[in-house]
Amino acid sequence: MIDFIVTKYNYLFYIVLFLIGFYAIIVKKNLVKKVIGMNIMQTSIILFYVSIGCKKDGTLPILLDSDLHSHAIDAGKYLNPLPHVLMLTAIVVMVATLGVALAVLILMYKQYGTLEEDELLKRIK
């Protein structure tokens, strides 16, 4: 058990964060809190991906000067760069979703004067 936690603690933290976000989305009645939960959830996935790229004793995925012209670069020396790239894209997606969600919230607040789910449902009808 301890072994499991020690060797995989990053993945466990991501799950905890993911569940916090998920909880906020499902349970919270305030729409802004739902959006915050959504963001926490997406951030947790980013942490998960970045953890995949981690390597023991690896350095940043930027070639050292000594390796620039060498023909046999030891791949174990550098972190896995691919998950970082994927997450750059995912971060942008996250920001974009947040932007559209907030735009919708602004309009809703203008129109109905509240962002509490119960109140809103009453006012829509």
């Binding site: 993945y11 012209h69 760069p81 735009a103 203008k110």
Partner: protein, 97 residues
């Protein structure tokens, strides 16, 4: 209250499923995991040869997977236009109350 307990139950189930998945994964920071063995060594070894850029993240972002990056910029563009579409004429709108 009932709803809260029900959703907590649902969330705990999701968590257990996710943790069950984690249990079978290669260890964190394992240099021999498939993720670091299959595709990524080629990126590391060829980055300077292919693109003359020491930063591998840059090479992948702009070269190997440059098309994803085009999609990424399109996502931002979509969000921007979507906000314009939604928020245009906002000042003209009367508040409800």
């Amino acid at each position: 209250m009932k709803f809260k307990i029900l959703s907590l139950f649902f969330i705990v189930i999701t968590g257990i499923i996710l943790i069950y998945g984690v249990a079978g994964m290669p260890d964190l920071a394992d240099p021999d995991s498939p993720a670091s063995r299959h595709v990524s060594p080629e990126y590391i070894q060829n980055t300077y040869k292919d693109a003359h850029t020491p930063n591998m993240v840059t090479t992948i972002l702009a070269d190997y997977r440059g098309y994803d990056t085009l999609g990424e910029t399109t996502v931002i563009f979509t969000a921007g236009i979507a906000c314009i579409l939604l928020l245009k004429n906002l000042k003209g709108r009367k508040s409800h109350d």
